[in-house]
């Protein structure tokens, strides 16, 4: 299932995915060079975000009026912007915003999706109907437009952006989780646990969740990519998190005027968004392949 957000995970059917055998999973994952590349990209970007203050050669918001719009050089590895701020430093700090938004918003979406999906799938009936209709509602509302209205109302601060992105991406997660639960709850071992008198929360957490988690991990990885893209679009439209915090999308937006005179200013932020998103997509894609062993056996 694909979310009607601003960007979509590149996956359709995850329902067959299981973590059945860890060793086989790793073997398959390692064999997949693209997935490894994705993992490396993601790790690199995470590290550079975490150690931004160590790695950055300059303060990301400190201007150097005498060194404005400098081309990449030893002094400014990726060049400088219209105020003489170091682009590399800004990109490094910008990674923090993008990743935090990506991870937090996606955690909100995945957690909400898992909880609602579990309740919906397990109890069925009226509750299921109600929850799925709510999911339909958020599924149908055009995601980017919703986001734009949301930040107008609640200000484009990180918390409101987490919530909004979470709100528009949970329905697809919930549907996936629900279909997993529907499938799992009929399986023998769950029926056995039920007949032994295990409590519902216990069954859900101990028996259902571990077996349903694999596709959710794949969804989450692809979802992070989608969320990062959405945030950059929002920033590009001038509605994202405000200065002086350098967000990648904002940098592309403010580089528009300089694209012909200072190509590096627009090109590097765009590239870094693409690489980050690509990393998560590679990773998610590789995870899916590795978790779906029968595809390689076909």
């Amino acid at each position: 299932m694909i979310a009607a957000t601003t960007s979509r995970p590149a996956v359709i059917d995850l329902s067959e995915i299981r973590i059945s055998n860890r060793r086989r999973f790793w073997r398959a994952f390692r064999r997949n060079r693209v997935a490894l590349l994705g993992l490396i990209l993601v790790i690199l970007i995470c590290l550079s975000a975490i150690f931004a203050d160590v790695l950055a050669p300059y303060d990301p918001i400190e201007p150097h009026y005498t060194a404005r719009l400098q081309a990449p050089s030893a002094e400014f590895p990726l060049g400088s912007d219209e105020l003489g701020r170091d682009l590399l430093s800004r990109l490094l700090y910008g990674a923090r915003i993008s990743l935090v938004i990506g991870f937090v918003a996606q955690s909100v979406a995945i957690t909400t999706g898992i909880i609602i999906g579990m309740i919906s799938g397990w109890y069925g009936g009226l509750i299921d109907d109600l929850l799925m209709r709510i999911a339909d509602v958020f599924f149908a509302i055009p995601g980017l437009m919703f986001l734009i209205v949301w930040v107008t109302i609640f200000d484009p601060n990180p918390v409101s952006i987490f919530l909004a992105l979470g709100l528009i991406s949970w329905p697809s997660n919930a549907r996936m989780m629900r279909s997993q639960v529907l499938h799992l709850k009929e399986l023998d071992y769950v029926l056995a646990a039920r007949s032994l008198g295990a409590s519902t929360p216990r069954i859900l957490i101990q028996h259902i969740l571990p077996n349903a988690i694999a596709p959710m991990i794949v969804l989450a990885s692809l979802g992070v990519a989608g969320v990062i893209l959405s945030e950059s679009i929002l920033s590009f439209l001038g509605l994202g998190i405000q200065i002086p915090t350098p967000s990648w999308g904002t940098m592309v937006n403010s580089s528009r005027g300089y694209i012909t005179t200072a190509w590096w200013y627009g090109v590097f932020p765009g590239l870094i968004i693409m690489l980050t998103v690509l990393g998560f997509n590679f990773l998610g894609d590789g995870l899916r392949d590795a978790l779906q062993p029968n595809q390689y056996n076909k």
Binding site: P63, Y65, L69, E82, Q242, I243, P244, S254, G257, T261
Partner: protein, 537 residues
Amino acid sequence: MLRYVSRMLVLILVASLVLAVPLAAQDEGYVLRYPISPDPEHLNPFTATTIAIGTVMRNIYENLLGLDAPTGEFYPQLAESWEISDDQLTYTFNLRQGVLFHDTGAVEFADGDREFKSSDWVCAAQHSVTEDETQSAHPEWLESVVGYEEFLAGEAEAIAGIEAPDDYTLSITLTTPNRLFLTTLGVPGIPCEAIEQLGEDLGTNPVGTGPFQFVEWQRDNFVQLDANPDYYEEGKPTLAGVRFINVPDANTALLQYRENQLDFLFGFPTGQRLAIMEEFDAEYNEIPGLNVRYFGFKMDQGFFAENPLVRQAFSHAFNRELVWDELMEGARFPATLGYLPPSMPASTPANIYEYNPERAAELLVEAGFPNGEGLPEFSLWVFSSAADELSLPVLQEDLRQLGVTLNIELEDATTYWDHIGEDDVLMFLSGWSAGLEDPSDVFNFLFLEARDDTAYDNPEVNDLLRQAMSEYDEAARNELYQQAHDLITADAPWIVSAYSKVSWLQKDWLENFNPGGGGTYTARLADVIVNSDMLPE
């Protein structure tokens, strides 16, 4: 199934092509391609409030008198001549004869050609006086006319002060002398039938008497006007028409101008100004503008109200020249004089706040905050479209040198305009565009009786400004404004940042495009001439 899908696709494509009916070929003659941003909200003269609407409408509708932007003089439009009584209370207009309304088909007239008459003007005047703001947003047009209040309250059938003794004469009587009455008299020449027949659609079917008439409006795309074939001024307009092309983004406009898809470029993308001036050297034009940009202080309460020396210190600390001459590549003039655009009378106060960081540091010591010690952190509120204005980081840095911490709070425009009037906002970035080269058009809106968000209210200044309003002698009036300006400067309610420049590119085959300091939109497009020798191809 495949065949079905491909058929559907072909169908969709064909449908989208059919939806698109090609425009008829243009008549011979040059159609001006005029970039406009944003797209006009509507074209209803009674509720018109924005520059975008005005840009288009001033070519379609005319008033009794026109105001020539470069000279600031009135010239006859619908009224051929006018007289003002000695007591400044009665205005008599002799209307031009034989002026025909545009024949656009939107309004049905009883007999073919429809001539503009005094009754049309009375009709429009009455329509403009209403309690319903969605019908008319311009009480200032006729507020000072005798009988305005009674008509507004529904107690009178007509506005007593407006008389039309015959088809070509109008006389208007005011309750008190109003020096700016002619300037604000915006009642358009529109047929009574349009107001009666169009109702809600008045805003999409303009019918006037101007040099150009309405043809088509594709929202967010273009407004097409054609030359009015019956225009009363002989030989005008020489253009075949004007197409106002909506291009919201300055970068895109530049790309289009460069590829000869637009005739003008009015806004320069930040950071490309010098490069553009170099690339289009011969096509660059510039005149001083009427906008003032400033950082305002809250003057009725809070820290700045109580610490005039700190306000002065900040004014001295700000390096305007660095911002505007260097970083912003001359986009505006650094405000080194006073609170008025430099082209206005009385624009140089006795005392100015030049960039002088040492003086600023001394003033802080005098105020009891040496090196900023003991000062709270300040917040500067800014509307988000000014986020990339480099005055912000520079001011921040200049104040940091003084030991002052300034935080920048961005808000989107609407929230911002609502918010800065509140008590928690002590400092904000703002601006003001005067419409006339007259100090009243700045002072009356920004320094009179706490009208502005600074809440600046100095009884002495108020008195001077009110006196000046009814002073018809120019020299005496300017003297009053000079005194007011000196008092205001001494109070330092703003850090003045910059005065605007009106600058634009125009293709070199265009001549006679003459805007005033109010902005490029004030140019009369009926005057524009195309030099066909210069045309490419």
